[in-house]
């Protein structure tokens, strides 16, 4: 058992150097979120005159190391698993924390993917330090080598600056998609150190029995989303939403009550307890615009709402408001869009 222990302040924080980044990978490729973090790690390391250090656990790490190299990783530390496949938080924490102990990084960035969020808290506690989660902006106070992390608070009402002044490493996560993909770098060389490890020693009886590949509907990267709410009247109302989404090459979203009613699966839910989306175009049909829905879509570039109630809260979050019955407005939009895409001149005064 790990003892309950206060977050001990390291005696020599000045001994902590370089920027660690957790290199998550699947099927022989570094995941998108980890590449974004590697880009950030490089940026911070350059400002500090230090190294961007990738740490990875798993199999075939040589290939992962060479991909990391092409994105500017200076040092790659790998724990090559030689026994069984699968994931174990306890074992991964052990391997990663041992790299931290040995190399004493000042900063440690981990993508806020499901794997990253599973691991980060354990690693931080093992290393007796704190984490700022879901950061959207990172900067560094160079003279003090202090990481300045910003994260949105509850309901995005404020953006909070999170500091970890005395503990090391200073750890943060950011959700995948928070930063631009970094550019590849020609002729960069990365020192690669891979050690062999065994999961069985730490994983106990934890085993992966099976993996059923199935891509989850990812609304967060959709360019266009058409969402429906209770105002559609019934489950078949979603047919009209789907038709419009199809005509635009977009995805279908939904408010929570229609998911609860079983009109559409949960993976389509937008909002506080669903997905947070930021498409170029968001169309909300028959959705009132309660705050729990708004927080999930208000960052959309253009918002169109369709509602019979001109007083609905969604209206003030909309660029365009169609005050009409969704069963009339949706097919009209679909028809017009199909015409325009087909190249027929619009039958309008505009």
């Amino acid at each position: 058992m790990v003892e309950l222990i206060n977050c001990v302040i390291p005696e020599h924080p000045e001994d902590y150097h370089n920027v660690f980044v957790y290199i998550e990978h699947k099927n022989g490729r570094i995941s998108r979120g980890a590449l974004e973090m590697l880009g950030k790690a490089r940026e911070l390391a350059q400002k500090l005159g230090e190294k961007a250090v990738g740490v990875a656990v798993g199999k075939n790490l040589k290939d992962i190391a060479s991909e990391a190299e092409s994105y500017g990783c200076d040092l790659f530390l790998g724990a090559e698993v030689t026994d069984f496949t699968g994931f174990s938080s306890v074992a991964y924490t052990e391997f990663i924390a041992s790299f931290v102990e040995e190399h004493k990084p000042n900063i440690f960035l981990i993508s806020g993917s499901r794997e990253g969020r599973d691991l980060v808290s354990r690693i931080a506690i093992r290393c007796r330090t704190g984490v700022a989660a879901d950061c959207i902006e990172l900067d560094v106070d160079v003279p003090n080598r202090l990481l300045i992390a910003w994260r949105p608070s509850f309901g995005d009402k404020t953006i909070d600056q999170i500091l970890c002044k005395r503990h090391r490493p200073q750890m943060i996560t950011s959700r995948p998609g928070s930063y631009k993909m970094p550019e590849k770098i020609e002729k960069h060389t990365c020192e690669v150190k891979i050690k062999k490890v065994k999961m069985a020693k730490y994983a106990g009886e934890h085993r992966t029995l099976e993996f059923k590949q199935k891509d989850r509907l990812d609304l967060t990267s959709a360019k266009i989303i058409v969402s429906g709410g209770l105002g559609l009247g019934n489950a078949s109302g979603f047919k009209l939403v789907k038709d419009l989404a199809d005509s635009l090459g977009g995805q279908v979203g939904a408010s929570r009550p229609v998911v609860d009613l079983g009109w559409i699966p949960y993976e389509h839910q937008v909002g506080q307890t669903g997905q947070t989306v930021r498409p170029k175009l968001y169309i909300a049909a028959g959705i009132s615009g309660k705050i729990q829905h708004i927080v999930g879509m208000k960052a959309s570039e253009t918002i169109i709402s369709i509602n019979t109630d001109p007083e609905a809260p969604i209206v003030k979050f909309s660029d365009y408001f169609i005050n009409a019955d969704a069963s009339k407005a949706l097919p009209r939009l679909t028809e017009e869009i199909k015409k325009v895409i087909a190249g027929t001149p619009a039958s309008s005064p505009g």
């Binding site: 058992m1 990812d218 017009e336």
Partner: protein
């Protein structure tokens, strides 16, 4: 079994104090954090089939007692509220430590269920943090869990598929919001719960020195706040026969590509 539950404010009723720039939570109605309802339901399902007792542990202000009673009304057997002024402003390190101390004091458990994340800070760090302090295994993002021959079998929902995992308790399991449909409380159970009452523990009863908890025991701190500028939108009214105008606007904005360009 133990479930970790936090009472969170209902988002609708949160507002910012215009003078002090702080979130005013005291005015917000408290609800059970959504995924904690699913964590409780996952535990109740196991209790239905295998038996066992469920203890709810929650750290929060005295009002959080209501949320604990609600959990007991759904079938939890025992409620513990960890409440003490010195716990205020804890980050996830100090929160995990405090909750882990309470779990140790409860002692006897095989599975701890936690929600995947809370809606008010939403880090999802506390479940794994508690597991780390206790030195036990964890299975996160579950959509189903059951006991088979003394092993926990659970399905984890990841970005690219479902991982089926088997492990031996003790283990901490975090539960996703789409894992199940939480049951409602029953009046009779609720009355029993009120009679039974909720135990209240402070830092003394947990043997935790005050400098290990709350703001003092937290490695991270909030340095400053920015209030993001809300984007003002035009809310331009569009009549049904003006839809072609709207669609032309979308073309101009480059959102829709016309046949001419294709």
């Amino acid at each position: 079994m133990i479930i970790l539950m936090k009472q969170v404010p209902d988002a609708e009723e949160i507002f910012i104090d215009p003078v002090k720039f702080t979130l005013n939570r005291s005015q917000a109605r408290g609800i059970i954090n959504p995924s904690d309802e699913n964590a409780l339901e996952a535990a109740l399902k196991i209790k239905d089939s295998e038996g066992g007792e469920i203890t709810v542990i929650s750290m929060g202000p005295p009002q959080a007692e209501n949320a604990i009673l609600e959990c007991m009304g759904r079938g939890a057997d025992r409620g513990i509220l960890i409440t003490d002024r010195v716990f205020a402003a804890a980050d996830t390190y100090a929160t995990s430590l405090t909750i882990a101390a309470a779990v140790k004091k409860v002692g006897d458990f095989d599975i701890i269920f936690a929600g995947e994340s809370t809606t008010d800070s939403g880090t999802g760090h506390v479940g794994p943090g508690v597991a780390e302090f206790l030195g036990i295994d964890q299975v996160t993002y579950t959509v189903s869990s059951r006991i088979e021959a003394g092993m926990l079998i659970a399905e984890r929902e990841l970005e690219d598929g479902i991982e089926v995992v088997s492990t031996k308790p003790p283990v901490l399991v975090t539960v996703l919001i789409n894992a199940n449909l939480p049951r409602r409380s029953r009046l009779r159970l609720k009355i029993d719960a009120i009679k039974k009452g909720v135990e209240k523990w402070d830092h003394d009863s947990l043997n935790l020195p005050p400098e290990w908890v709350g703001i003092k025991g937290s490695p991270t701190l909030v340095g400053a706040l920015k209030i993001p500028e809300e984007r003002k939108r035009e809310s331009r009214p569009i009549k049904l026969d003006e839809i072609p105008v709207l669609v032309q606007d979308l073309v101009k904005k480059g959102i829709i590509r016309t046949g001419d360009e294709a």
